[in-house]
Amino acid sequence: MNRSPYISDAPSVSMIMLKVLLALVPGIFAYAWIYGGGILVTIALATLTALAAEAALLKIRQRPIKPHLMDLSAVVTAWLLALALPPLAPWWLIVVGTLFAIVIAKQLYGGLGYNPFNPAMVGYAVLLISFPLIMTKWSAPLILAQTKLSFLDQLYFIFNQVLPNDIKVDAITSATPLDYLKTHLKLNQTLSEISQAPIFGVYGAKGGEVVTGAYLLGGLYLIQQRIIGWHLPTAFLGALSAIALVFYVANPEHFASPLFHLTSGASLLCAFFIITDPVSGPTTPRGKLYFAAGVGVLTYLIRVYGGYPDGVAFAVLIMNMCVPLIDAHTQPRVFGHEK
């Protein structure tokens, strides 16, 4: 019988997912430092929900439960969704989003390897459409907040949506720079006026820049570990910068600089952790470039002209739809064949 090859040298799926989780740790630390420890609660809750939903669905679908829970893919989805949600999002929002991501977007399509859409982004998009008010209300970075909540206060708030006696909700929330920019441009303010607001940091959001930097660190680790390639992040960040630059050069008082777009919102999380989901992305090198560039351009267009402050989730989902087409038309030349 021919069973060769007898040897193998590949990280297991679990190991790949574990490294992705590991790469997220600096970002989570930065997040907790800037926005408070509430994110740890959010992540824990999302993780538990994801694992429970995954186990339940695997049982219903009569699939082996243990190997699929051990592959950690559900945990990655949970963490990414948790990091995309606003800090101090209510517990039910986290649960609903995670359930939708795991049950509908992943398991009902056939589980690991079969989902055409990025599960975390499906969960996020559903929440954004269903609960736009909560989803766009971000708690202010601790350094900006008039009142600082303790970890226990945050924990209490996540589960009860009640603040300690003398604190008003407005005191702990603020608009995100992307949101602020959008609303204030409509008020005919110029960029130089808008960027005077305290929520703006050196390039993007005050505090948010730090988290972004931490994501970059994690992303570089993933490239170094050969978990992800350079194609997707480079093409995404390149396309986003390029289109932002064109608009910025044309009218710098109305369009934010490329650096602002790179350091705001979910840009870096998207570049290294979201579009790099192999299951819902393209597989050919050229296809990866087209896919990521498409996400970059769409993200920018949705940010500037769309109805939502950030466009990453919708851009990713739209490009997910194009993946079969991209793959089919970017097949590399086979050895010994003409192009």
Binding site: N2, P11, F335
Partner: protein, 616 residues
């Protein structure tokens, strides 16, 4: 566009195809090549090469000498089998052979007499002998490609007449882990290899020879370099990256020539020989030795891995004993390397021309793969594939039996090197899927070809029958027309002579009438023919009555009516002519009937023949 991108890409970003598994070559290179003691018996499979089984020349009980021809090649693609030592033929029967199928095949079993007595050998001074004589001598040398493909060597060298070979590539890459037989051969017999290269280059008429060797064999490379001093043969060092020893990969690495998928290397002026094969060439011409032994690596789970010079037919057990025996936890043996080798059905199989390496396997060495997980489309396989295929897509197609799609995605360019499986995080046995898909496509193609052929043959037959029928009908019609016209001419001449035309119109009338009648006759003949054919067809199905001869009452009645009409128009007085015409007509009808009968018989015979064909 891609070329430009590639040019600006720094080296570390350039995709490295292939893999570099742990080499495990050091174990079996500690000791020199050893000669194995004479085994108790030798089992020689007749099919140790690609192509036809050779014709056996000896019989059971016969005493043979070392190097004596036991079986001579049949047809072009075949190779001879020689006695590896002197002894007696014990049996010629089916034995288990070293093949993935584990099926038995015809083998000659030889009991050595211990004398190891050579037959008369003829040496050839290859530099001064005509090429034809050299090739002819190679035909019965039994030499085949010793790299593993076992393609008869005389065919590869003979092709020089047709295709114009410029480059001879010597495959010394030995890219599979564990295998070191070529490495050791180069270390110890570099001189013989180099002389073998000169022979091959001379026979091919190649302009240059290039030795491709992986950079992990520095001792072998030094030995070769020393043997090459002053010779116009170059060595190209290629990176140690499996599967650089694949012929097309190696050609690309050493010469930059990318062999198109639908062409052979020889069509591009390149021929590839393995180092062991050229050494066999050298020994054949210089000492007259046929192919009776080879160097085999025995490694893995054995006490002392080593290379051995082994006579073909030696039982595997004799070989493992020579290494100090397999360790207790050995589960089975693998022939070939860990990337492309296969499980041997039993340790009793003989060593053949294809056996370059035997690995004793244990769960410790080759752990069974964990259960396969779903494909996560990470495309590691695509990055590693030396052919730049998309294994993740091929897997999807193979799994869903979308074989046509798999073919579109160049399934048949897959060389089954196993690199995709090697790098798969989900432990999917991709190569197995591709082997399965290939066999399914080939089977489907064969079935389709057979069906197409049958349909084509049937269509052709039906067309032929139809054409013959029409031709026959036309011929009858023409003949009927011809005789009728003659008869009519004769008749009208008589009428003219007998009496002056009553009216001026009469002859014209009668002429037109004659013509009309002739046409009618033709129609009748055709009708009869049709009736006959229909009857024949009906007969063939066994439904119609047997006798067809008196099928004419209706026709005869019609003829009678026509005659009556003729009389009515005033031709009655000239009875003679119509009578003659009638007689002729009758004769013709009879003839037509006879012909129709013959046609029927023929049709029936054809039908039967076809039935037989279909049954077959």
């Amino acid at each position: 566009m891609n070329a430009i991108l590639n040019f600006f890409k720094p080296d570390f970003l350039k995709q490295k195809r292939g893999v570099h598994p742990p080499e495990h070559k050091a174990e079996s290179t500690q000791l020199p090549i050893a000669k194995l003691a004479m085994p108790q018996k030798l089992v020689l499979p007749l099919r140790q090469h690609i192509g036809n089984m050779p014709k056996i020349l000896v019989s059971v009980g016969e005493h043979v000498l070392k190097g004596q021809l036991l079986a001579t090649p049949e047809c072009t693609v075949s190779a001879a089998i020689h006695a590896p030592t002197s002894g007696t033929i014990l049996s010629i029967a089916d034995e288990i052979i070293p093949h993935p199928s584990g099926l038995p095949d015809k083998c000659i079993t030889l009991i050595p007499d211990g004398k190891d007595q050579w037959a008369n050998l003829t040496m050839i001074d290859w530099r001064n002998a005509p090429k034809e004589a050299l090739i002819a001598s190679l035909c019965t040398s039994g030499i085949v490609g010793l790299g593993g493909a076992t393609f008869p060597t005389h065919i590869k060298l003979r092709s020089s007449g047709k295709s114009n070979i410029q480059t001879l590539v010597i495959n010394a890459a030995e890219c599979e882990p564990y295998i070191t037989c070529d490495d050791m051969l180069m270390r110890e017999h570099a001189e013989e290899i180099v002389q073998g290269i000169e022979i091959a280059q001379y026979l091919l008429g190649a302009e240059k020879s290039v030795i491709g060797i992986e950079d992990n064999k520095s001792i072998a490379q030094q030995a070769m370099q020393a043997a090459l001093t002053g010779k116009p043969i170059s060595i190209v060092t290629v990176p140690t990256l499996y599967p650089s020893g694949d012929a097309r990969q190696l050609i690309h690495l050493v010469s930059g020539i990318e062999i198109p998928h639908d062409k052979r290397a020889t069509e591009m002026g390149v021929q590839v020989f393995n180092v062991a094969t050229v050494r066999a060439l050298y020994r054949h011409f210089t000492f007259g030795e046929p192919a009776i032994n080879r160097v085999v690596t025995v490694t893995g789970n054995v006490a002392q891995p080593q290379n051995f010079e082994v006579l073909f037919g030696t039982p595997l057990t004799a070989l493992t004993q020579a290494t100090g025996g397999a360790k207790p936890d050995t589960t089975h043996y693998i022939m070939g390397g860990p990337m492309m080798g296969f499980d041997l059905p039993t340790p009793e199989v003989p060593i053949t021309k294809a056996t370059n390496c035997i690995i004793a396997a244990s769960p410790h060495l080759f752990a069974p793969p964990p259960p396969a997980m779903p494909c996560i489309r990470c495309a590691r396989c695509a990055e590693a594939c030396p052919i730049q295929l998309q294994p993740q897509e091929l897997y999807w197609f193979a799994k869903s039996d979308a074989f046509e799609k798999a073919r579109d995605y160049k399934l048949f360019d897959c060389i089954e090197c196993g690199v995709c499986t090697y790098v798969c995080p989900s432990n999917i046995p991709l190569v197995q899927y591709f082997r399965y898909a290939k066999s399914e496509v080939i089977a489907a193609d064969k079935a389709k070809e057979a069906a197409d052929l049958a349909r084509e043959r049937n269509e052709f037959r039906l067309a032929r029958i139809e054409r013959e029928k029409q031709e026959r009908a036309q011929k009858h019609a023409e003949r009927a027309l011809g005789t009728k016209a003659e008869a009519a001419k004769a008749a009208s001449a008589k009428t003219d002579a007998a009496n002056e035309a009553p009216t001026t119109e009469a002859p014209i009338n009668s002429a037109t009438d004659e013509a009309a009648k002739a046409a009618k006759q033709a129609a009748i003949a055709a009708a009869i023919e049709r009736a006959k054919a229909a009857k024949a067809a009906a007969d063939a199905t066994g439904l119609a009555p047997k006798n067809t001869a008196p099928a004419n009452p209706a026709v005869q009645q019609e003829i009678a009516e026509i005659d009556a009409r003729r009389k009515n128009v005033g031709l009655a007085n000239t009875n003679e002519a119509p009578m003659t015409a009638d007689a002729e007509k009758q004769a013709k009808i009879a003839a037509a009937i006879a012909r129709a009968k013959a046609a029927k018989a023929e049709a029936e015979a054809a039908k039967q023949a076809q039935n037989l064909e279909l049954k077959e």
